[in-house]
Subunit: 243 residues, 2 copies
């Protein structure tokens, strides 16, 4: 049995038995992909939403002249496919960044879920809301931050998102994002990402070596990146107890 959704939601709320059952009814089997695999190609028909069970993936698209733009990194417990909900087809490519296992579930199942449980609906919207806020922060990065700040901000975003889902998250963690990928995500060249990473190292912000990243001075990094501290508070996804 595959309890992706349950894993995700239970992290925020103590689910009741009946809620768990609702979630279980929704799920299909888990699917496993090898690092580098194309999970879903832009243009293919979409009937399912995905939840990442374990591992990392990313959403991207190739613009004109084969320039790649990367929109988002998806990891443990993230939803994938919200942007495509109202389109018949997938808009973007989805690649496995590491080995990854995901759970598809039918998108129309959501409606059912919302009918049955207001609490889950609220939670779902809370999660979406945080995701959108994080997107806004990335927009701020892309538009108005220097290369160094972009990279710093991105590292902090990843660390934050990991800490939300993994109870044992520490300042040293696996960071499987290649500099080329970071470049396409932050709107930089990979060469410049490299120089920025090295500058972060040199100034003692981080230690970094083959997929291992350690944040040495979180406070100073937060300041450098102008990271919005309101994201550090744990989310109240359960955003209104009202009837």
């Amino acid at each position: 049995m595959s309890q992706c959704l349950e894993k995700k939601f239970n992290h925020y709320l103590d689910l009741t038995a009946s809620e768990k059952e609702l979630l279980e009814r929704l799920e299909k089997e888990k699917v496993y992909y090898r690092s580098g695999a194309l999970i879903r190609k832009a243009g293919s028909p979409v009937n399912d939403l995905y939840v990442i069970y374990e591992g990392w993936a990313f959403v991207s698209k190739n613009l004109d002249k084969n320039i790649r733009s990367v929109f988002d990194i998806k990891m443990s417990a993230d939803f994938v496919g919200m942007a495509e909900l109202s389109f018949g087809e997938s808009l973007y490519d989805l690649y496995a960044l590491t080995d990854v296992t995901i759970c598809p579930f039918p998108k129309h199942g959501l409606n059912n879920l919302f009918q049955q449980s207001e609490r889950l609906a609220r939670l779902f919207h809370g999660v979406l809301s945080r995701e959108q806020a994080l997107l806004y922060e990335r927009i701020a990065s892309l538009g108005r931050r220097t290369a160094l700040e972009k990279v710093a901000h991105f590292i902090l975003e990843i660390s934050l998102r990991l800490s939300l889902m993994e109870d044992d998250h520490s300042s040293i963690f696996r960071f499987p994002v290649s500099q080329t990928l970071m470049a396409d995500l932050l709107g930089l060249s990979s060469v410049h990402v490299n120089r920025s990473m090295n500058e972060l190292k040199r100034h003692g912000y981080i230690r970094y070596n083959r997929e291992q990243l350690e944040i040495l001075d979180n406070e100073r990094l937060l300041q450098l990146a102008d990271f919005d501290r309101r994201f550090l508070q744990s989310p109240h996804v359960d955003w209104h107890e009202k009837n």
Copy 2:
């Protein structure tokens, strides 16, 4: 009586009488703001979501060193405040770009709505989904397009969004976005936005003068901006009839 939500939803669906009633029960009174007014300041407590009834607004925030980043332009029938749903306070500033009238409604009212009408819930998510997809496109712009392409893409996005809500939308329309605002939205300097706009004029893509904009050659502009044509199809917000 103020029927913002009704106006919005009815545009996509033929609402039944009972659906209309549900929506009306949700609404409060309309509120009017003068061009330039600060509608909601970052940090203020949030209990309401807004729908724009008429006019334009924008969402922004000031980073370190007082650099402004503009996240989104909101116009007729757009939702404002989704990103803040799970935060107790407003994260960003909201300014009136033109004279604008908005309808607030209590955010917890949404849940109620979803319980009552699956169809409205589906519609709501469909709308959100389109919004997120458009955000992704802006991310692509910010990251990987040249100044000229950014500006072109933005113009097309606005035109598209207008055409979705206004039945009489034509290739010539009011465009109340100052070049400084465009700069903060696209991650450019206002000087460079100016040069880009003029280049678009010079090459016969657009005509543009004091808040009036005319798209002279839509096809060529689409091509220049590498605009994703899938957005041009009218949305199937009613994305699944299945129960």
